[in-house]
């Protein structure tokens, strides 16, 4: 479904993505893990056309992407952002946030679609005419997912979708995302700094550091802890909680 090959990207003079290759089958779930500055979010942003300076090949559903994205692309792939507090317009009601894309793409039936989108993400009609600040973080993230789904995309690009949420809410949202993928046959690329989240949600994982993919693994390999690259091993150990002896083995990767 998604083929990324030899992707390089620059922010001004910084070479932020170096020869990134990713392949995601239809209905697959691919995880990108890394710390800040690893370039994981940049990969998503390059796919959605938010990055100007890039080279390489990005093929989505058989179609090669150029410098600009068109409406067809937006009906194929949508993004869910990290910050539930920042990704919904503070002055728009939930209804408006969900209706606008429907109108832009001329899909019609906006009323029914809005109700359906809210139901899909587990929110009832009471939320429809509220403002974002009247919702909790988890509810806002559900709205963000509903907004992504209302255009009936086949691909969801998830940029740390649960990092800003409480642990118990994270579980609910991750379950929702899992269910949606199964029920709607979606393809995911999920970016996270949390190895455990990615291990839980994804089939294949790539670990990134300073713009490069340093290791690829399947979920099974992660479960067994059989990682080869020293950076991945360090990340894996760090995910296990605090251990003074382990910290001494940490190296700064520059």
């Amino acid at each position: 479904m998604i083929e990324i090959s030899k992707l390089n990207a620059w922010f001004d003079d910084n070479h932020v993505l170096k020869d990134v290759d990713i392949s995601v089958p239809a209905n697959g779930s691919f995880g990108l893990v890394g710390e800040s500055g690893s370039g994981k979010s940049t990969v998503l942003r390059t796919v959605t056309g938010l990055v100007d300076d890039w080279e390489g090949t990005i093929t989505v559903k058989g179609k090669k992407l150029g410098p600009k994205r068109d409406k067809d692309f937006y009906r194929l792939a949508q993004m869910v952002f990290q910050d539930p507090f920042g990704s919904l317009h503070p002055r728009h009601t939930i209804d408006r946030i969900l209706t606008e894309p429907v109108n832009i793409h001329g899909l019609g039936n906006s009323d029914a679609r809005v109700v359906e989108a809210l139901t899909q993400v587990g929110l009832d009609n009471a939320f429809r005419f509220r403002y974002p600040h009247q919702l909790s973080g988890g509810q806002r993230q559900r709205v963000a997912i509903a907004r992504a789904l209302i255009l009936e995309p086949k691909i969801l690009l998830l940029d740390e979708p649960t990092s800003a949420l409480d642990v118990s809410i994270q579980a609910e949202v991750l379950n929702l995302l899992g269910r949606l993928r199964r029920d709607l046959g979606l393809t995911y690329i999920m970016v996270s700094h949390d190895l455990a989240v990615v291990a839980h949600m994804c089939d294949d994982i790539a670990i990134m550091n300073h713009g490069r993919i340093v290791e690829r693994a399947t979920a099974e390999q992660l479960a067994e802890g059989t990682l080869e690259h020293p950076y991945s091993q360090q990340l894996y150990k760090a995910a296990g909680g605090y251990d003074r002896a382990v910290v001494d083995t940490f190296v700064d990767w520059d």
Binding site: Y74, S87, P90, H92, T93, E100, P101, I104, F129
Partner: protein, 307 residues
């Protein structure tokens, strides 16, 4: 909820404070209601609001309120001190100052209203375009704005009125031309902050056009700062209009514009102080009213703080 004494019917109040609005209109009204509650807790802001509302009411009901014809000269009654027949006395042509004051309110309101309606949208448009597109559009628009900002407002207004000729329409035009640049600056600053937010990117990713982004997404975020600034500026606009009127470049005689009235009374300032002082006090009170209103609005309208 709040313990505000409300005269709204229970049904209406219920509708306004409902947790689950049934329509966008209801949601908007509910939000406005909450804003009003917060605003009304500020005593000084309410004073400001009363002054402004008072100004509007005086303008509407001028014919009913004014005891005399503001233009009726009575040379036998020149420069009478305030008394039972003429509460604020008469001017050098024997016209009742109170009536002139009342009818003059409409000029104040006209000036302030027309300037706000023309300058604010212009500034908003220029500022959001500059902030949104950046690059050479930003540079060109901002340099034009800088040119206008370089001149002190009164001087610039004077220059324009001198070029266009005296008269209240030209005065309004001149003030509007000098008033828009700060709004462009404010709108641009807000736009630059807002355009990096995720919700703008999300809208872009749904296929929203640049035009729709500016009008529907960015402009609402600029409105709060803009409304506050415009309201605070109104006091200044009144003073500039009064200044122009004082110099004979604004409203022309016999229009009872307050600035012109102060100018007329200049010559009698020492002995017959009321001719100049009364309209001067009116200018002061209304300017103060707008200032207090603007301050109160600023406390209530804060896009980042939520409601």
């Amino acid at each position: 909820m709040t313990t505000q004494i409300s005269t709204a019917k229970p049904g209406l109040k219920q509708w306004l404070t409902s947790d689950t609005p049934q329509s966008r209109w209801q949601a908007k009204c509910g939000r406005a209601w909450l804003g009003w509650i917060k605003f009304s807790e500020n005593k000084l802001a309410m004073v400001g609001l009363s002054v402004v509302v008072g100004l509007i009411l005086v303008t509407i009901f001028a014919p009913l309120l004014a005891p005399y014809d503001p233009l009726a000269a009575d040379l036998t009654n020149r420069i009478q001190p305030p008394g039972a027949e003429h509460w604020f006395g008469t001017d050098q042509l024997g016209r009742d100052i109170l009536s002139r004051l009342i009818y003059g309110a409409q000029y104040t309101l006209l000036i302030v209203g027309l300037v706000a309606i023309t300058a604010a949208p212009l500034g908003l448009l220029v500022g959001t375009a500059a902030g949104f597109f950046g690059g050479w559009i930003d540079a060109v628009l901002m340099r034009i704005t800088d040119v206008f900002l370089a001149f002190p407002k009164l001087i610039l207004a004077l220059a324009f009125v001198s070029a266009l000729g005296p008269g209240i329409e030209n005065a309004i035009l001149a003030i509007a031309i000098t008033a828009w640049p700060p709004y462009a600056r404010i709108a641009r600053a807000e736009t630059i902050t807002v355009r990096k937010e995720d919700y703008i990117e999300a809208a872009r990713l749904q296929g929203t056009s640049n035009f729709a982004l500016i009008i529907g997404h960015i402009t609402p975020m600029c409105m709060s700062s803009l409304v506050v600034r415009v309201t605070l500026d109104m006091a200044g606009m009144i003073l500039i209009a009064a200044g122009l009127g004082f110099l004979g470049l604004g409203a022309q005689p016999p229009m009872p514009e307050w600035g012109a009235m102060v100018s007329d009374g200049r010559q009698f300032l020492l002995e017959q102080w009321w001719v100049a002082t009364v309209p001067g006090l009116a200018i002061f009170v209304v300017s103060l009213g707008f200032n207090l209103l603007g301050d109160g609005l600023r406390d209530v309208l804060d896009p980042r703080g939520g409601d």
